[in-house]
Symmetry: C2
Subunit: 342 residues, 2 copies
């Protein structure tokens, strides 16, 4: 009669206590309230509260094919840029009754692949992915399934996924024009390795083409540095500063990780911003106003990117077969002390 272990209440328990069928309870749960007698509605309500019943999404998902799970694969979760996107996506996700499974790949394609499998096994309804760019074949598979996939930040060639990002080439253009306008003669672009990462490729491409076009500096003023080895950056930095000695020099950092490392390296070298070299970066990290005279940056609407990407996923879930879209959100140049007129 009395049960010793407190087993979790099921829809059957609720039905029994309320004196109705499981079907009726299921209708109640689905919010199909109009089709219920007032009295029935109330009996079920009471029964649910009495038992402290919570429906099992697993069972529901098994039957209905909807898990209410969205996967989010992030290349580097320690990057505040990613975290801000995550926060936007999470907010929107929760707002719509979905839950978010977060995966951090540390830019490792193998981990990314594993995560794609794992998420599939949980039957996620949708996926937001900030891809390492080296699993295109695996992502192609997802394309065939019914999973709604939206890319953030990084594009994949020849793949018909929605993409939410910013106008990277426009941003670089704005940066370079700004610096030229302020009188800088030599501008260096420092980026993490660009291979497979569309964002980095786009930015670097635009930088090169602008400088070549203006014949303003040698194209050699671009530096691809793998920051995983901490000793890689310093010599390249010195190389640039040496080669541009006596000129008005500026450095553009391709993302906030690079910006941080360059700031640290300049600090190490005993150099001052902007006296010794001007500095300009992507993203707008918390500390940008605090370092030296404040660092001029291109700020990206990270929170909105997250929200937009999630909206896009959920929209796709409404069985919309609309054509793939590439949504570009606007950036904003925030001028601080690191880039004065020369």
């Amino acid at each position: 009669m009395t049960q010793l272990t407190t087993r979790r209440a099921t829809i059957g328990d609720v039905a029994a206590l309320a004196g109705v069928s499981k079907t009726t309870v299921s209708r109640y749960l689905a919010g199909n309230v109009d089709a219920l007698a007032k009295e029935t509605y109330h009996k079920i309500k009471v029964a649910i509260e009495t038992l402290g019943y919570h429906p099992s999404r697993m069972a529901s998902a098994l039957k209905s094919g909807r898990s209410y799970l969205i996967g989010m694969i992030i290349a580097d979760i320690t990057n505040p840029y990613s975290t801000a996107i995550l926060r936007g996506a999470e907010d929107e996700c929760n707002r719509c009754g979905y839950s978010l499974m977060v995966c951090n790949t540390d830019n490792d394609p193998e981990k990314e692949r594993q995560y794609i499998f794992t998420l599939q096994s949980h039957r996620i309804d949708g996926l937001i992915i900030n891809t390492t760019g080296r699993n295109n074949d695996f992502l192609r598979q997802l394309n065939a399934e019914d999973t709604a996939v939206v890319l953030v930040d990084r594009e994949i060639p020849d793949l018909s996924f929605d993409l939410v990002s910013v106008d990277n080439q426009g941003a670089v253009e704005e940066m370079v024009l700004f610096l030229l306008c302020r009188g800088y003669e030599r501008i260096a672009y420092f980026t993490e390795p660009v291979e497979g990462v569309s964002t980095r490729t786009d930015r670097l491409y635009k930088f090169k083409s602008m400088l070549n076009q203006r014949k303003h500096a040698s194209a050699a003023d671009t530096y691809e540095v793998d920051l995983s080895k901490s000793t890689n950056l310093l010599p390249r930095l010195e190389q640039f500063l040496e080669s541009a000695k006596g000129q008005h020099r500026a450095i553009i950092a391709g993302n906030s990780v690079m910006l941080l490392q360059i700031s640290l390296a300049l600090h190490t070298l005993g150099l001052q911003v902007p006296q010794d070299v001007a500095l300009l970066g992507f993203d707008n990290p918390d500390w940008a106003p605090l370092v030296g005279p404040g660092i001029t940056v291109i700020a990206q609407p990270t929170y909105e990117i997250g929200v937009t990407a999630m909206q896009r996923v959920l929209y796709r879930l409404q069985e919309n077969q609309e054509e793939t879209r590439h949504i570009r959100l606007p950036v904003e140049l925030i001028v601080r002390g690191s880039t004065p007129k020369v």
Copy 2:
């Protein structure tokens, strides 16, 4: 005969193609390989690859009671401190074949409560929670269920959950002694509102008791500031600096958010660290070495906290009914230029 829509393969499809029973495939999937004939093993392997089959965790969970889902509730995901813990937890989680559902409460107890329900509905096996501290009754419920719960950072009174954190009182003691030793006469402690947040309470308590004990400064040099209103901080800061005019002054920030805001405020006021006031903070954000002469901090082993908390959760899942433990990881004082000898 031929199916038009590519339905997702099930264990039944694999069994049929391999010419064996579902049970046998299930054994294969469970890694129960010793009990399989070599030939059978191979047939199943081929069938799985041919079909691109991925087991459904939902179905598996429904039957076995194991969802392989761990929930993680974070009070503030934009705080790098939290992100670092998240990364540790996520790594360990993945390493053990579980997936992580991440929830960000923005320190809102109502959101926290909603998330607890949602996670329950997904039948999470375990939960790591950095609690707002104002849902103790709801968490008590979880205590009764079979969910493995581990708290990080923030404690809950009278609740028998495992807790992973640092020795906050010891850390404050180290900070204060360090500052006294260096000759500072007036030390202020700035914290976000402490109510319900054990970490903040502990730190503030220790600070007060040390200063009272030494009769070194008035206990009034503690400031609880709600940073959600951006205008709250500046007047309190000026109040302290004014009251301690002419003395060697130092400020301790109760966490890195506070440290950032104080740094910004001092910047606004045109004050220099450490000439005008010394600065000392909790956590070790990326930018700590870069601001002014570098900021002295107490660094917490955030990644390890995340890993340890997850290990603890997974350990509890092995049906261990061992007594509740409070694990305190060591902190490290990192001395930089913001706190010179006076």
